[in-house]
Amino acid sequence: MTRLPGSFLLALAAVAAVAAVTTALLPVLGLASAALLFLLPVLLAAARGGLWPGLLAALAGTAAYNYLLVEPRYTFRIDRLDGLVSVCVLGAVAVVTSRLATRLLAREAEANARAQASAELAQLSAVLAAGDANDALAKGMAFVGGRYGPARLIEALTTANRDAVFTSLDLAAAAWALHNGDMTGHGTEIMGAADWSFVPVVAKSRPDLAVLALARRPEGGARTMSELEQVQQLAWLLGQCRDRASLDRERGERAVLEQSERLRRTFLASLAHDFRTPLTIITGRLELIAQRGSGGRDPAVDDALAAAHRLDRTMADLLGAARLEDGSLRAANESCDLVDATASACAALVIPPGLAVTRRVPADLPFVHADPVLLQHVLANLIDNGLRHARRALTIAAEPEDDRIVLTVDDDGPGVPVAERERIFARFQRLAGTDHSQGSGLGLAIVKGFAEAMGAKVSVGESPLGGARFALSLPRSSGASG
């Protein structure tokens, strides 16, 4: 809708043309048809030039009609009532027609603009949907830049700060938009004096708010609110694409993590395999040698066998330590029978000659909550530790205590000094110390780590036997108790 002087001239010219035609043909046309013809320039002017040219055509047409056609002709005087009525009706109809035509025109223009806006949105979605999210986002920004002038995506104020094109007012507007999720800067109500407009690209409540910065038009025209509203729609689309990009990125990072996790597991599994295969050959061959001898077993062979078994246990402890370290340990929570667990732990151990092992685990002991495999490992390590320190006696006992079951392993060895009692469960404690007869020290660290993973507690104190008492306190199973 342009209101150039041209459309006013056009209105007057059209009225003049109709006036000439009607004046010449009045006897043929009659007054009523002539009056109708004066509506044509009104329609033309309103359609081409809008409201004001239309009104001008209405006024000029009415005047010309009055002056040229209504009796007495060539004066603006009106003698007869019907003449007055026809002039007034023509005037009113012309004015209303002009307004209606203008409104129709405006509505059409609005529909056009809306169609254009949706086409633009559709185009941008197509651009953003294609291919890799990061590339699509860059292409989407280029698309917006191509239509609305220089555009930038600001994800944090620090990136905006480094950009020399922003004045301090721009930065303030950007900060507002980033913090509050409002449209700010040029063309808006908030800091409208800024050179750039800032449009949020994600919903207000999001912590990762980002804004689209749009430079003031170089040709100088101010951005209208409706234009910025369209830009807001485009910005939402950009925001969705940005979400897709960050999801893709997260997925990629997770995949890398899973990959390294898998590698590590494969490594540990093959390490176990590489260790145990030679151990199998060593122990197998040693056993065959031991059986070959006719008169009694050779103690040297038994020593070698015991050492090989120790190596196997250390390997299991090392793998357990690796699982504790990287947090991949997932303890199951089943109800377990401690009678079962101690029986299988004892069955797996070689009890040195001259050592009496007493088991006092009541057959009707309530079940405990634990991971059966970890529990087995914990018990084996505790009993193994006791066997290595005991002189003559080792006692394994268990009894209920409130809502827990406490299993104790007592030995008559040297015991653990009070000052050492906390440190003894620390990793490689024994290795750093002077006494290497006690193994790597990994065993008790595994006990503590696995116990804690199962919700159990382990502690060390004095034993009535004179040595150390290790106590494992396990949550009692709420279910059946045997």
């Binding site: 176990a272 145990r276 056993e287 079962d340 029986a343 057959a363 079940f367 495999v373 045997g482």
Partner: protein, 224 residues
């Protein structure tokens, strides 16, 4: 004499297995990889398979069903990993039993004897099963230990019957739960623990130091 196919990529392990097997009068048939194992089993005359799960050319867990499909012989899995899931998976895939490296020669031979026996006499006779001191009469629903009659609930009887029928082979928790309680209760290990506890109190000479029913943590139960 039984012909035992030994599948392991390590030559020293194959030699060790040969010596151990020959001690019990078996004839070892070595196979260094999956391809050779399939060929040897396909040729026939094999009574049981000792299968290492860590093979160079094929995953042992994959090979297991293929071997089972080729010939109906018991397969004992030899695993270098302490990983419980792998053992349960192997048993679920039809392995008769497993041993963990480093294994004990006597234990391996004992497992093999049980597996070979199971293969021969799986068809129940007159409904009377025995294992060590346990005598279980399926048709009359009677159990005795050392000729001492023991009264069992139907669940206890069913679990014990499964274990006795397995004759020392390991039964996984899942398998026991499925055959006694039904498929829907495969995960309810707690049911099984309660029943095994009750069985111990009734069967064992000293229930605090059980000897008859052996627990394999995280895997299942077997009769000793």
């Amino acid at each position: 004499m039984s012909r035992i196919l030994c599948v392991d990529d390590e030559a020293a392990i194959l030699r060790l297995l040969s010596v151990i097997l020959q001690r019990d009068g078996h004839a070892p048939v070595p196979a260094p990889d999956a391809r050779a194992a399939m060929a040897a089993l396909g040729a026939g005359g094999i009574d049981a398979v000792l299968l290492d799960l860590g093979l160079p050319d094929r995953d042992g867990l994959e090979l297991l069903p293929a071997l089972r499909a080729l010939a109906a012989v018991p397969v004992i899995v030899i695993s270098a990993r302490a990983d419980v899931q792998e053992k349960v998976a192997a048993l679920d895939l039809g392995a008769a039993d497993y041993v963990t490296k480093p294994f004990d020669g006597d234990e391996l031979l004992a497992r093999l004897r049980v597996a070979l026996r199971g293969a021969g006499t799986q068809a129940g006779r007159d409904g009377v099963l025995t294992h060590g001191p346990i005598r279980l009469d399926r048709s009359r629903h009677e159990v005795s230990v050392h000729d001492r009659p023991v009264a069992l609930t139907p669940r206890e009887f069913a679990v014990l019957a499964e274990l006795v029928a397995a004759g020392g082979r390991i039964l996984t928790h899942g398998a026991l739960l499925e055959s006694v309680w039904g498929k829907a209760h495969q995960q309810d290990v707690e049911y099984l623990r309660v029943v095994v506890r009750a069985l111990r109190l009734k069967l064992e000479d000293d229930p605090a130091q059980p000897r008859l029913i052996r627990n394999e943590p995280g895997i299942g139960y077997r009769l000793d």
